[in-house]
Each structure stands twice: as structure tokens, then as C-alpha cells.
């Protein structure tokens, strides 16, 4: 790698460097820090999920009717589903050993596909799990306070618009990523 067949290669290889060296202690420290960060993130997500579930269980106990209790139960199930999916997606991230086993093309395409799938499928794993609980909660409120049904409809329209907005934004992001993947595929087939 020290043969210079042209002056630009020679220019590149002879450029002055800072000579940065990283000690093994420093590497172990940083690797440990990284592992701890992942551990704490997982703990935080689990704690948030448990806390929300505890809150809904508390609501369930004080709920005025069976419909409310069912809705809170569905919210708990939805929360657990989202937490499990979040954990699975976080575990699917590329590990350094995988980086060495695949070439740049495969790695880069894999990263883009992972990001695309994550946002393209936002509906089934992130938005949909809360829908059953929300629908039953609506029924519960409509039965408990029939005089406020128009306010409820107004709020529902807002929530549906929010869900559709998030979904559309993610679909747009997925299309941008797909264009990059197509570019890579075209480049690899040239």
C-alpha cells in the first residue's frame, strides 16, 4: 500500500497526520460506556412502560363502568406491544462484527432498508396498538356523557388527523429512503 503509481496517491498517503492513538484502556472505557448507555435506555423504556401500565391499572380500579375498564386494559396491552416492538427494533441495529462481514454496499443498503422499514411500518407497530383502546374509550365516554358527544366527535377528528399526518409524514420519509436504495441498486448494477 505504499507504492505510489500516481502523484495524487502519493499526495494522499504522505499528508501530515496528527498521529492520534487510542489506548486499549480508553477503548474499553468507551465500549463500556456504550453498553451502559444501551442498558440504561432499555431500563428507561421498560420503566416508562411499567409506569404507564401502573397508571392505567389505577384508572381501571376507579373506572365508573366496564367499558372504561376494557378500554384501559386495551391501552395496557397496546403499550406492552409498542414496548416489545421498540426493544426488538433497537436490538436489530448493526453490530460491529456485522460491519466487518459485509461490504460497504450491503451495509449501507441494509442500514437504509432498516430505517425505511422502521418508518414505513409505523402504523402496525406504533399507531395501531393504541386504536382499540381509544375506540372503546370513545364508546365509554359517549355512554357516560351523551350530552358532550359533539365535543367528543371534534376531538376524534383531531386525533384522526394527527394519526393520518404522522402516517403520511412517515410514508414520505420511506419514499425518500427508497429512492436512495434504488440509487444504490442502480450503482451496483452499472
Amino acid at each position: 500500500m505504499t507504492e505510489h503509481s500516481n502523484p495524487v496517491q502519493e499526495l494522499w498517503q504522505s499528508q501530515p497526520l496528527e498521529g492520534i492513538k487510542v489506548s486499549l484502556e480508553e477503548i474499553r472505557r468507551r465500549a463500556g460506556k456504550f453498553e451502559r448507555r444501551i442498558l440504561w435506555r432499555n431500563r428507561r423504556e421498560t420503566a416508562a412502560c411499567v409506569l404507564t401500565c401502573v397508571l392505567f391499572v389505577y384508572f381501571m380500579h376507579g373506572a365508573p363502568s366496564l367499558w372504561f375498564r376494557i378500554s384501559y386494559g386495551l391501552f395496557i396491552a397496546g403499550m406492552i406491544w409498542v414496548a416489545v416492538q421498540l426493544h426488538r427494533k433497537a436490538s436489530a441495529r448493526s453490530l460491529p462484527a456485522e460491519m466487518g462481514a459485509s461490504g460497504a454496499l450491503q451495509f449501507f443498503r441494509g442500514e437504509l432498508e432498516r430505517q425505511r422499514n422502521s418508518i414505513r411500518n409505523v402504523w402496525p407497530w406504533y399507531l395501531a396498538p393504541t386504536v382499540p383502546g381509544y375506540i372503546v374509550l370513545n364508546i365509554a365516554w359517549a355512554m357516560a356523557r351523551p350530552q358532550h358527544r359533539w365535543a367528543l366527535v371534534g376531538f376524534d377528528v383531531f386525533v384522526v388527523a394527527l394519526f393520518v399526518g404522522v402516517w403520511k409524514l412517515n410514508q414520505w420519509g420511506a419514499r425518500c429512503l427508497q429512492r436512495k436504495i434504488d440509487e444504490l441498486n442502480a450503482a451496483s448494477n452499472e
Partner: protein
Amino acid sequence: MSAIEAIPVAAASEQDELYQEAAHAHGAALERLARAYEADAELRRDLLQEIHVALWRSFNGFDRRCSLRTWIYRVAHNVAASHVLRERRANAQTLVGLEELEQLPDANRGPAAADRSHALNRLLELIQRLKPLDRNVILAYLEGMDAASIAEISGLSPGNVATKIHRIKQVLARQFQQRAVPAGPVRAEEAHD
């Protein structure tokens, strides 16, 4: 920061030994690679450390199905490409392919081109404008690797790599003709930071 030589080799595991071998043989090339992927000095140091950590962690799963050099460059390029993906969200710089780079005007006009340090800065600017995959190929080429090694690192077919190298040579010939790269060392303070 203490040097890696300070670690007693006898106490090191195979993972540590592989890392030390990699850092010793390819440390300079990794630093050049980090420079090609990150212009900001502070972020570049972070990126280089990230590459070293990823390299050390990767040796835990090194299966020797490819050469040590190929493994090192794959990990380093893939960490750097992830860095580019992350940082591009922060600075919306448009990256181009080799094809677009061929359309750039000839840079061999003006007094700046005659200076070696300016030539190096110009080379860095060109590389930093490239999309990660093309950057991968040009860097491996500049490190003096042959088409087969570049294909192994990049994951592209040898034919595709040959086409890209042909384009790279054309771009470099246009941008850095022999007279534009004067002989002699570049002083550290002149180099791109």
C-alpha cells in the same frame, strides 16, 4: 491519551492482539479515512475514536473469512458511512456521485493549484462531496489498493469497481494534473483542518 504500545501484549486477549495489530499497521490510513469523512477537527477525532472502538468490538466476531485488512477497512468505512448518514441530518449538504464530479470545472487554473497543501485541501473537498459508496472506492484507490481488494471492501462487482476507478482517474487527472501536485512534504499547519 496513552499510546497503545503501553499495553502489555502478554496480557492481551486475541481480540486485543488483533486490534493492536490493526492499529499499528493501519492507524495512519484510518486517520486519513476519518479526515475524508469529517471536515470538522473535533468531530473527526470523535469519529476516529468511534472507528477504533468499533474495530476493537468487531474483533470479537472476526471469523477470518476475509483478510484482516479487508475486515478493518469494511468496519472503518461502515462506521464512517453511518456517521455521514447521521450528520447529514444536521447539515443538509448534497452529496454527489462520481458521474457528477466529472462535470466539475477544471481546477488547474489560478495560483492556488500550484501549492501542494492547497492541492491536498482540494482533494479532501472533492472526496467529502462524494456519496459514501463512491467515497469508499476513491479512498481505497488513493490508499493504493487494487480493484479486487476494493471490490471485496465495497461489495461492488470487480467490473463495477473497474469502471469507477476509470472515472476516478479521469476526475483526478483533470483536477490534479502533474504540475498541480508539486513534490515535497506538506507542513502540518498548512494541511486542511
